[in-house]
């Protein structure tokens, strides 16, 4: 065997070999085609010249113009291809017959740095010529099959994680990279809405925390459990895939992690008299922290993870005592709906009379709203822009303030105004409480939106990040996430731990609670020592700090927090 054949795929030169033209050989080549295992066989059109090689590869990977939707623009298609090559972990691409391959088209492919390109020729007499044309090394069909077998085993190993968590393996996505798109392509609108809602929340939560996470590995099992668990304790496939995507976007392969089961029931600290607290959140955060949850876990806790029927549970974990009373009180309180982006108002959606996830549905409606619009224009709009910095609060620019009219290019097809597509969408939805009749309107709008399968067309080709298979402008409420973060940071300014107070904390660089999983308190960067709460300063100085009482007044909190 030629030593070159044994080289690692990364950065490898193309390898050419004679395959032949018989149906058996071609069939054997096609049998290697398994994009999810990292191998793609691309058939080249006869005398195709400089055909769209990126399109050919995408088609070979199973994507169609109609359902996966890539732009007709070369740059966009190449970007789409680059994302998919990375997403599926493609490591081997065969271009058959190599005689039909255009060298310039090949060099224009991007994202193939880690891909081994194989050039099987149809005619033996052409092998030398093709080697010279592409600067290819000698390969063989046997070597190719051997390499693929080795890599396929690795890919299979990576995917086994799904069967290890939950008992509902049948519901589990086969591939976390493509799960979101798969649901979008095959599920109904509500299924997708629910999946995507969990996906996004988990993704952004994880992405946010990963930025400050120097030693992530020990916390992963617990993090997955707390972020991805539903109220019944089951791991949500959507949330898990969101976590997976956030890790992968950082270049971390979340391979086969254990999922920690938090002790059940949670400890129940004494929270008697919690009703005297200036804000129920104080008691809630304090109580949850004392019960053993990290601040970051508390910050990302969602209403969908709380159950108050037949006992109080968080992520399926039973809660008893006065903490249960606090949670139930918080869960059932009347929330100021004008604060839709504060972390705790995620509870809002759960508290509407219909018991549904209206806040999440509302977000979904907006996403569908945009995607449906884009799809309606048959991908002719290249500038469906969302103005940077615009948020959903921009109610003064109804009905669709995020579209730059100048960016909409003329189209021979009749174009409907967005207002006609989704009639009577009041911009007031964006900031005002949802009423019952409005809930019904949202549901009607959801029913009127195009099917998810059609939605993918425009949505996917605008994405700008591997982790967002759907372009983020369409799916993110601009500004919403940052407001959540801001609110979270603000709320974390309260001293909440029994051991120390915490200022500018995050799970990864500060805390070690009495439960052992957190808290190494550090001085936040760029924060003068005198600005840090006295108790934190004392903790930083190594002094013993007496536990705080949750029931301090707001004024007392402020005094302590500096």
């Amino acid at each position: 065997m030629n030593p070159k054949d044994e080289r690692a795929p990364a950065g490898a030169e193309p390898l050419a070999f004679f395959l032949g033209d018989s149906p058996d050989r071609v069939s054997e080549l096609n049998s290697l085609h398994d994009p999810k295992a990292g191998a793609v066989v691309v058939h080249l059109a006869p005398r195709g010249g400089r055909e769209r090689l990126d399109v050919s590869v995408l088609q070979a990977m199973g994507h169609t113009n109609e359902t996966s939707g890539w732009s007709q623009l070369g740059a966009e298609t190449r970007k789409t291809l680059r994302h998919w090559v990375k997403a599926l972990g493609v490591r081997h691409v065969f271009f058959y017959p190599a005689e039909e391959l255009d060298r310039k088209s090949l060099t224009q492919l991007s994202g193939f740095e880690s891909v081994q390109i194989w050039l099987p020729t149809r005619r033996n007499g052409q092998l030398a010529a093709q080697k010279a044309r592409f600067g290819a090394g000698p390969g063989s069909f046997r070597t190719a099959k051997k390499r693929l077998k080795q890599d396929h085993l690795k890919a299979k190993e990576n995917r086994e994680i799904y069967s290890l968590i939950n008992n509902r393996a049948a519901d589990w996505p086969e591939d976390p990279w493509t799960a979101r798109t798969n649901v979008l392509s095959s599920g109904d609108a509500i299924t997708y809405a629910n999946f995507d809602s969990r996906w996004q929340d988990a993704f952004f939560a994880t992405q946010h925390e990963l930025e400050n996470m120097p030693r992530w590995e020990p916390q992963i099992p617990r993090w997955i459990r707390m972020v991805a668990a539903d109220r019944d304790g089951q791991i949500s496939p959507g949330a898990y895939c969101g976590i997976w995507a956030a890790f992968a976007a950082k270049g971390i392969e979340l391979s086969n992690p254990p999922i920690e089961v938090v002790g059940s029931p949670l400890r129940s600290p004494d929270l008697s008299g919690f009703e005297k607290a200036s804000c129920i959140d104080e008691a809630l955060v304090y109580g949850l922290s004392k019960a053993g949850l990290c601040l970051v876990e508390i910050a990302h806790l969602r209403a969908q993870q709380v159950s108050c029927r037949g006992g109080v549970r968080i992520c399926g974990i039973e809660v008893a005592g006065s903490l249960a009373d606090v949670i139930e009180t918080a869960y059932n309180r009347t929330i100021d709906p004008m604060r839709p982006f504060a972390w705790h108002t995620r509870l809002v959606g759960e508290l509407w009379p219909d018991g549904g996830h209206m806040y999440e549905r509302f977000k979904q409606m907006y996403r569908y709203y945009c995607m449906g619009y884009a799809r309606f224009q048959e991908g002719k709009i290249t500038g469906l822009m969302i103005k940077p910095g615009k948020t959903l609060e921009s109610s003064d620019e109804a009905p669709m303030p995020w579209v730059h009219p100048a960016e909409i290019k003329p189209d021979s097809r009749p174009q409907k105004p967005l207002a006609e597509l989704v009639p009577n969408l009041p911009a007031a939805y964006l900031t005002n409480p949802l009423r019952r009749d409005e809930v019904q309107t949202i549901q009607r709008i959801l029913r009127q939106t195009p099917t998810p399968k059609k939605m993918t067309a425009q949505a996917i080709d605008e994405r700008d990040d591997i982790s967002t298979l759907i372009e983020r402008h369409y799916v993110e409420i601009k500004g919403g996430t940052s407001r959540v973060r801001s609110s979270v940071r603000h709320s974390l300014g309260y001293p909440v731990s029994g051991d120390i107070d915490v200022l500018h904390t995050s799970m990864w660089n500060t805390a070690r609670s009495e439960n052992g999983e957190m808290i190494v308190i550090q001085q936040p960067p760029d924060v003068p020592l005198e600005m840090i709460a006295p108790r934190t300063r004392a903790a930083l100085a190594g002094e013993t700090v007496q536990p705080l009482s949750y029931s301090w007044s707001k004024r007392e909190w402020n005094e302590v927090a500096g």
Binding site: P23, V26, A45, P46, V55, S56, Q59, N65
Partner: protein
């Protein structure tokens, strides 16, 4: 014996279960099941197109797209015809764009039922077109069977293209009916022939040169003439008139 009456055939005629028809049934079933290619070739008028159409229409859960091209078509023309056959709408755009859409349309995972593409008059195809068909068929994303039909010269075209010849999973050759075959089949073809002499059938078969299409024309004419004359049975004069109306006088 098939009992159904073929619509385009003379009134009262029935589908004759010839050897070629039986072979077509078997071959078509095989290539559809395995998504392979098959050739149905032979002299014009011997029933290739009829047989394939007939069998394909009787196969359940099968989509059939019929393609027929101009003589020696370009790949652009070929791709347009395929596109229009697949999508039933006018084809526009470049060849590469059409190819891309055709590949999408041929995807096995996008179809509820298996697809048979029948290429009629394949003798008109040139090497480029055959290569293009092979490309569509070999593509990893596509999944369909292909029946290539052609009259004189079609098999010659296939035989001269190794990449196509090697992919032919089944081949059925249609030949003009021999006298023995005519005696065996024609009485089943139409009730008017049930009681006629063998000699008449042999004479007619000679004039028809064993070609079924000619037999259909003769029979259709005889049906009309018998109706005009209100005859229950064929007589010599009617047959003579029919042959004079159809065949060139010697």
């Amino acid at each position: 014996m098939k009992t159904a009456v073929a619509a385009p055939f003379p009134e009262g005629s029935e589908v004759v279960e010839t050897d070629e028809l039986l072979l077509t049934e078997k071959a078509l079933g095989d290539i559809v099941t395995k998504s392979r290619m098959g050739a149905f070739v032979g002299t014009s008028g011997t029933g290739k197109t009829f047989s394939v159409r007939r069998i394909a229409s009787e196969m359940e859960n099968l989509d059939v797209v019929w393609l027929e091209f101009q003589s020696r078509p370009s790949i652009v023309h070929l791709s347009r015809v395929i596109y229009e056959g697949l999508f039933n709408e006018p084809a526009t755009g470049s060849r590469n764009k059409l190819s891309s859409q055709i590949i999408d349309g041929l995807r096995a995972d996008q179809r509820d039922r298996p697809l048979l593409i029948a290429v009629d008059e394949a003798q008109r195809l040139n090497t480029e077109c055959i290569e293009y068909l092979r490309y569509l068929h070999d593509h990893v994303g596509t999944g369909f069977s292909m029946a290539i039909l052609g009259g004189d010269g079609a098999w010659q075209v296939i035989r001269e293209e190794p990449m196509l010849l090697s992919r032919m999973y089944r081949r059925v050759t249609f030949q003009p009916m021999s006298n023995e075959a005519a005696l065996r089949n024609i009485r089943s073809y139409h009730s008017m022939y049930e009681d006629v002499d063998d000699e008449l059938i042999l004479d007619l078969n000679e004039m028809c040169k064993g070609v079924f299409r000619h037999w259909a024309t003769v029979t259709d004419t005889l049906v009309d003439l018998m109706a005009e004359k209100e005859l229950d049975k064929l007589d010599f004069e009617t047959v003579s008139l029919a042959t004079q109306l159809i065949f060139e006088r010697e």
